[in-house]
Symmetry: C2
Subunit: 306 residues, 2 copies
Amino acid sequence: MPLFDTLPGTVSIYEVSPRDGLQNEAVTVPTTRKIRLIEALCASGLSRIEITSFVSPKWVPQLADGDAIAAHTPSAEGVVFSALCPNARGLKRALDSGIKEIAVFISASETHNRKNVNSTIEDTLEGFRSVIAPAVEAGLRVRGYVSCVWGCPYEGEIDTEDALRIARELLNQGCYEISLGDTIGAGTPLQTRRILEAFFAEFSPGQLAMHMHDTRGTALANILVGLEMGIRTFDASVGGLGGCPYAPGAAGNVATEDLVFMLHGMGVETGIDLAKLHVAGQVAAAVVGHPLAGKVHQAGVRSLPG
Amino acid sequence: MPLFDTLPGTVSIYEVSPRDGLQNEAVTVPTTRKIRLIEALCASGLSRIEITSFVSPKWVPQLADGDAIAAHTPSAEGVVFSALCPNARGLKRALDSGIKEIAVFISASETHNRKNVNSTIEDTLEGFRSVIAPAVEAGLRVRGYVSCVWGCPYEGEIDTEDALRIARELLNQGCYEISLGDTIGAGTPLQTRRILEAFFAEFSPGQLAMHMHDTRGTALANILVGLEMGIRTFDASVGGLGGCPYAPGAAGNVATEDLVFMLHGMGVETGIDLAKLHVAGQVAAAVVGHPLAGKVHQAGVRSLPG
């Protein structure tokens, strides 16, 4: 069998719970609690964490304290903090904060992009010219998110060519990595293979990451396909924090603990201590005040065999 | 990429919710409600359903009404009903009920088998001589479960040789199919490949099924490996009914809806109508009176794109 004959020794986990997770929570969490969560994530060995967003508080009141979060987040050794940055105003806040990495967000679905950022795909890409290149010139790394690659809550199937075109433009503008998102968690493994084949025809695996939602339970199966095909960076949210904005009560981002459990079980290292990550998941649940959907989060790490 | 170049047109789903699911529920569900669940499962297009157990009511009070369940279950066309049958006394009840298929259950872990059926593996296999062969002689089909193949809650890792030896003996005694169980949901994909390679060295894929638990979120990823390697029968429980007996509140059996969603998304047919299966999951939740862990169950099928 050819399966898993070329597994990597390590992969990189990009933790999104303080931004993507908390952004999708109904409650606004106090700044001190957010910092407590970020500290717990750092203690687990996570080395890439998206801590907040420099977006207008009108749009995302949950993350209105972005400047304070960036100011108070401890500069843990070997950890790269990142913040979502939609426009030039956000970039100014990012530069003032001293953060070393930012991320930009766009959808491969025209309808989803309009509903999400009130702008066409073309206008959004054009607007990124005042964010990405200036950020790179200022010495920042810029990550690009392309959402709805596996499907759109409004349009259904999305032509992979649309996602490819956007990824191409983001890389041309200066992004170092494109995170491909299954925003509604509708992806299945054969589709994942087809999407990644289209991307690998043009880009190298090192330019790509996967951002999978577990809304229908397929996140790890899709990630397994990506791992087998060469993807080496996966986004995740501790405990599955954040849920699904399109189906109240349903799961959103794949839980970091589940992903790490699967990878470690295959001998693929992440630099993360699963027991400490489980503690961070407990902190995340306490911070938002309700149980989270992650499976290892619910089962616990003490119940592991052996 | 060699991934999914040999996907089957169809696979067989073996539904375990009325037996394995309800057996792990704290409450005992009234007989009429169980029959309502079985009817909803039949209506979804499921063609193999384990409806009850002919075990002593002392051991499993939740399934004490096995005879009534078998008597009142409608003989839906094209549907094979099965019942767990631990011993000769159970076989007598099965024969009286007119059911066409039974299943026997044994663990690959000595400690788990003792705790589960109060008997050594050797004695359990010996006892099956008064069940399997007589059942086959009476015209019944007999399915064999081997649990804890991916790990044991008491012993940790289990030597695959032990599972192989038991499977060999069950097939020799007359079982038509062996369902290999990840009873604690601790399996990961590379391990699944190794276990199945060991089984395929001796048995044909048609003799094997996978019974995966989703306790740590890896069930579909493991099933994907099995599918890729040739397994064509998968056990599942609607809504994920039953939970995990070793971690209260955690997920147990993989949810049938999640499995069917993944398979249909890959063009692999099951004969099941996912919308009707989702209805059966709602019936299951109503029958036990609490929400279930299945992801599609929680997200709903209306939120599917397109």
